[in-house]
């Protein structure tokens, strides 16, 4: 219970940001002919902001179901990686817990949980606490935007678009562990920037994530091989000198 509340508290700044966006998004959705019930169903069942945005852009009559599915798959493929990266947080927990908790994973509470985990452990409850706060904030904001329309403030004017980037940058910084991270991070950033220009949807996030992490793996392999090579030389040298002594 304590961890649940802690997770909520840790996500308050991001929930504020999500609410501002949710409000605008709600207004947009009404303009695209999305009813409040459809909005509510998306908020609760899907709970994925950027994919929802693309969905309402595709909202026409009749709705192209498979095209919508494909678009959502492309945008949300990053959740496969995000889910995988939560493995240490769920390590040793029963399957039912994973099945129940994973629905409430958004970019925001995932990032906060991962940062907290590196700082000394965050539990699934911490993750879910953040998720509950975010889904409440998101649903309330999108619904009021959808129903009330123009009453919502502009997030850009208040710098809320930037606040979101600032928080994510700060969370990224808190994950920095040392010089070994430099090259993988550089590759990730480069691939993400290039991918954003060239690839559809949010594929650039998966590209940068996979590319950067693979770089770390390759670097480690090169390092190990070098060590092995040096050790081999060392051993040969010792054997040779041993032979000479004999």
């Amino acid at each position: 219970m304590k961890a649940l509340v802690k997770g909520m508290q840790a996500n308050i700044p991001l929930a504020i940001s999500a609410m501002a966006y949710g409000g605008v998004f709600g207004v947009l959705s009404a303009n695209h002919g999305v009813s409040w019930a459809e909005m509510l169903a998306m908020d609760l069942l899907m709970f994925a902001g950027s994919a929802q945005l693309v969905m309402i852009e595709m909202w026409s009559s009749p709705i192209p179901v498979f095209a919508v599915g494909l678009a959502v798959l492309i945008i949300n493929i990053r959740y496969l990686l995000i889910g995988a990266s939560l493995q240490p947080v769920f390590d040793g927990r029963p399957l039912w817990k994973k099945v129940l908790c994973m629905h409430l994973v958004a970019d925001e509470n995932w990032a906060v949980t991962i940062a907290a985990h590196r700082d000394g452990g965050a539990s699934p409850a911490f993750l879910v606490g953040g998720g509950l706060l975010l889904v409440t904030a998101w649903t309330a904001a999108t619904l009021s935007g959808n129903l009330l329309g123009g009453l919502v403030m502009e997030p850009r004017r208040w710098g809320l678009d930037f606040a979101f980037i600032a928080i994510f940058a700060a969370l990224t910084l808190s994950l920095w562990q040392g010089r070994d991270d430099f090259l993988p991070w550089l590759v990730a950033a480069g691939l993400a920037v290039a991918g954003e220009r060239l690839l559809p949807g949010k594929l650039y996030i998966a590209l940068g994530g996979v590319g950067g992490a693979l770089t770390a793996v390759i670097l480690e392999m090169v390092k190990v091989r070098k060590h092995v090579a040096i050790d081999d030389k060392g051993c040969n040298g010792m054997i040779q000198s041993g032979v000479e002594e004999n």
Partner: protein
Amino acid sequence: MNDLFQLGAVPAILLASGLTYGLRLGGLLLADRLPRSGPARRFLDYLPGTILLSLTVPGALHAGVEGMIGLGTCLLVFMRTRSMLLTMAAGMAGVCLLRLFD
């Protein structure tokens, strides 16, 4: 019911929701099957940082030079205070000031 959900809305929402949930849970269950050491572990260890960077850097670049200065300030505030609320407040205040002078 017809007013609330137009034609195709229910299957579209259910399909999108199922796919999204499947990706979230699928990633976790796949990672459970990976070995706990070696290259696979290292890959998973690096994923959070590289995903977060990929989420952040393109957006930050779109914010322009002022954005970069603002971002630098936010990161300083974060390193000093370790408080997300203060970091967010600094970011908002900085951008509001900059946009006032636009």
